[in-house]
């Protein structure tokens, strides 16, 4: 017997295995970042004072624009695949990867500026939270980039053999990528603006 519903959907659940899997994974991610945001709330409520204006709102805003754009290119990468346009798909996926890299470059400048001033995670509760949350988020960006690199490189061969399964993989990657984007949309106001 072969494992069923890898590509086609199961009639009574309307899902293929991978789609359910990625949603469950995202549910656990919600709990992970939920716990971290709760930590932020509890520590901030209990703090005698809270610093304002420590971070560069401009850099943060640029990074927000970058990530939202990368979500758009990700959707386009999937949509063009569904329309059987391989060339456009490649273009959009490369663009998503490049935007992710750009985000990290920006982050590098932010990090090095604060570390240069001695404002590392040990400095205060604010910087402890800043580095831990953006650090974990950055790891998620890197994870997404690894998957995209695989789908651009050796993983792309599947398109010839099994186009439906490849499109499913791009869709799952996209769902993950939107989640990473969403986390940043929470992080930006919480750390930079409030």
């Amino acid at each position: 017997m072969e494992i069923p519903y890898i590509v086609e959907t199961r009639p009574d659940t309307g899902l293929h295995n991978g789609k359910l899997g990625i949603w469950l994974f995202l549910a656990s991610e919600v709990m992970l970042f939920g716990a971290l945001f709760s930590t932020y709330i509890i520590l901030r409520v209990g703090a005698p004072e809270w610093p304002h204006g420590e971070l560069s709102v401009l850099l943060g805003a640029i990074n927000t624009v970058i990530l939202i754009s990368s979500s758009v290119t990700m959707v386009m990468a999937w949509a063009s695949l569904k329309m059987n346009d391989w060339g456009t798909h490649r273009l959009y996926l490369v663009a998503t990867f490049a935007l992710a890299a750009l985000f990290l470059v920006n982050k590098y400048f932010e990090y090095s500026e604060h570390l240069g001033k001695g404002e590392g995670p040990w400095h205060s509760t604010f910087f402890a939270i800043y580095f831990t949350l953006t650090g974990l988020h950055g790891l998620h960006i890197v994870g997404g980039m690894v998957v995209m690199a695989y789908l651009l490189g050796p993983g792309a061969k599947m398109w010839k053999k099994n186009p439906d399964q490849f499109a499913n993989r791009i869709e799952a990657t996209g769902l993950y990528w939107h989640f990473v984007d969403l986390v940043w949309i929470f992080l930006f106001p919480v750390l930079y603006l409030l």
């Binding site: 494992i3 295995n17 209990g46 509760t125 580095f131 831990t132």
Partner: protein
């Protein structure tokens, strides 16, 4: 996924027959296997090893409690100067043993055996599925678990030894720079949590997607329901502990103060940390996992016991539907009871009132499940096989464990009982003679499916009665000690306090019972290994059971079933009036 091929021959799958006509090499077939049955057996072996290892740590601790300050016999000389100079245990080493006993038993022993072992091996078979939904992720989750285990074990050999702040790792104690073991503990936990997450995604997807034709949710064996709810608990409760682990790791290596309050003075010196942290926050995050974790330990055990009781009473389970609704409700409730572990932290009476109410409510579904199992015995002509003996013992043992938990769930009673041996007695009754007995029952019950051989009944009988008597002599006296006010985690057994004077004698009883319990595991180990080779060969359905795993050959080949199974009926149709035989399997029309 690509390498799942169908094998019509049963012989291919036999563990010792891997010689020629097999396209997978030894490494791919037995070590880095993607077959759920091999992975299940890997989990089970590793889990059993860690259970034995964690129990050994406890047997060493019990020597120190029974005979404080006397050289440890047999192994004392090899423990080294840092742990036990001249064979006499140092307090630091006692703390390491305590912390690692808890960690190993829970995260490396019971959960991997109950969920990773039985869940992986039995659940896809009961669904009529060829494998798990994501076989490669399944393999990764085992190896990440293995890495976590190795990390925990190696921490014993670091300078300063393993973690010694208890399995709960409360800060600020756990964050102090003494003992590098704590950092290793955190890294190990992050491995184990990752492994659990991957496993639970796989389990849920498999149950939702890979059920055989005709196998609706209300026809699932109760074991599958138990694994289903367990997986949701692992999926949603573990990430907050992962977050907490990351934060404590930051506290230890990056100098943050998430859990470190300001103005802390340790050994007369003020601690130089940024401060403003909140030590209670760790406890909330920890117990947000660790209370659902209790149900992760118990639910698979209930699932195993249900299968065995239905099979050996030759009757349908009494109140199957009520059990299913209870287990789902229990899963939900387990997320909102966590702070009943924290009544003594000064979090306030309003919080305590809320959590003691939810705690009382969660006992209701547990009682429904236990009562349903008990009523299932009514009027049955019971087959007292070895698995049934263990399953039957689970009922009163879990009952004692559960009922003694009620006073702990009420804030006023907890003030007296908190941090005493009563607590130790309570949760060990749930997990040791409760869950671990159910796990033994499962080993005896599904051993014929995994190997094609039956385990020896006489050795099983000795194993059961010896363990049953000894384990009660270990844990029953702890209630007496705890009610008398004896504190847990005392390196000298509490001898420094006058009020313990009359209670210390029980430490001798417990010590000898614990070592006796160790001795009575020898028949099990002999039985386990000798039966693989010399056990009585059996056909595919030796227990005359009704669920789908008994349709597959024993042991099942790659792909599990020779033909696609179709389900025609409910899971426990035993002694159907008018039927030709006393069991009507799900797979027979």
């Amino acid at each position: 996924m690509d390498n799942v091929t169908t094998h019509e021959s049963v012989a291919h799958s036999q563990a010792h027959d891997h010689a020629h006509h097999e396209e997978l090499g030894f490494w791919r077939k037995y070590v880095f296997s993607v077959d759920h049955k091999v992975i299940g057996i890997q989990y089970a072996f590793t889990g059993l090893f860690f259970l034995l290892f964690g129990f050994t740590l406890m047997m060493i601790m019990r020597w120190q409690l029974a005979y404080p300050g006397r050289p440890i016999p047999l192994i004392g000389a090899w423990l080294g100067q840092d742990r036990a100079p001249m064979g006499i245990m140092l307090p630091e080493f006692y703390n390491q043993l305590g912390a690692m006993h808890g960690t190993i038993m829970v995260f490396l022993g019971v959960v991997p055996l109950a969920v990773g072992g039985f869940g992986n091996f039995v659940m896809p078979l009961q669904l009529g599925a060829p494998d798990m939904a994501f076989p490669k992720i399944n393999m990764v989750s085992y190896w990440v678990y293995f890495l976590g285990g190795v990390t925990m074990l190696t921490s014993f050999f670091l300078k300063g030894g393993a973690a010694q702040s208890g399995w709960t790792s409360y800060p600020p104690l756990a964050t102090l720079p003494i003992a590098n073991g704590q950092t290793m503990w955190l890294i190990g936990m992050i491995f184990l949590i990752t492994s659990s997450l991957l496993g639970s995604i796989n389990f849920i997807t498999t149950i939702v997607q890979l059920r055989a034709k005709g196998l609706s949710f209300m026809r699932l064996p109760f074991f599958v329901w138990a694994q289903f709810v367990t997986s949701f608990l692992l999926l949603l409760a573990f990430p907050p502990l992962e977050a907490a682990g990351v934060l404590q790791l930051m506290d230890r290596v990056a100098g943050t103060s998430f859990f470190m309050p300001s103005g802390l003075v340790v050994s007369g010196r003020p601690l130089t940390v940024a401060g403003n942290g909140n030590p209670l926050l760790w406890q909330h995050l920890f117990w947000f996992l660790a209370h659902p974790e209790v149900y992760v330990l118990v639910l698979p055990a209930m699932g195993i016991v249900s299968e065995i009781i239905a099979n050996n009473t030759r009757k349908p389970l009494w109140g199957y539907k009520a059990m299913v609704y209870s287990v789902v409700f229990l899963g939900f409730m387990s997320f909102i009871v966590w702070a009943h572990h924290m009544f003594m932290t000064g979090m306030g009476t309003a919080m305590s009132a809320f959590f003691q109410t939810t705690t009382m409510i969660i006992s209701i579904p547990s009682v429904i499940i236990l009562t349903a199992l008990l009523l299932s015995l009514w009027g049955a002509s019971i087959r007292f096989t070895t698995p049934m003996l263990f399953a039957l013992a689970f009922l009163p043992m879990f009952g004692i464990g559960g009922l003694t938990g009620l006073p702990l769930g009420l804030a006023p009673a907890d003030i007296h009982l908190h941090d005493t041996y009563y607590v130790i007695g309570h949760f060990h009754y749930v997990v040791a003679p409760g869950t671990i007995f159910a796990l033994f029952a499962g080993v005896y019950h599904w051993f014929p499916k995994a190997t094609g051989k039956k385990m020896n009944e006489t050795l099983g009988w000795i194993h059961f009665w010896g363990s049953f008597i000894c384990i009660n002599l270990v844990f029953m006296p702890m209630f007496i000690q705890g009610l008398g006010g004896m504190n847990r985690r005392m390196y000298d057994g509490g001898a420094q306090y006058a009020h313990n004077a009359g209670l210390l004698k029980w430490n001798l009883v417990i010590g000898f019972a614990a070592w006796g319990l160790g001795v009575f595991q020898i028949p099990f180990i002999i039985n386990f290994f000798s039966s693989i080779k010399w056990g009585k060969a059996v056909d595919k359905n030796p227990w005359e059971a009704t669920t789908l795993e008994w349709l597959a050959p024993s042991p099942p080949g790659h792909g599990n079933f020779l033909t696609e199974p179709i389900v025609y009926r409910n899971p426990y149709e035993y002694s159907v009036p008018g039927a030709a035989k006393d069991f009507s399997p799900q797979f027979e029309a």
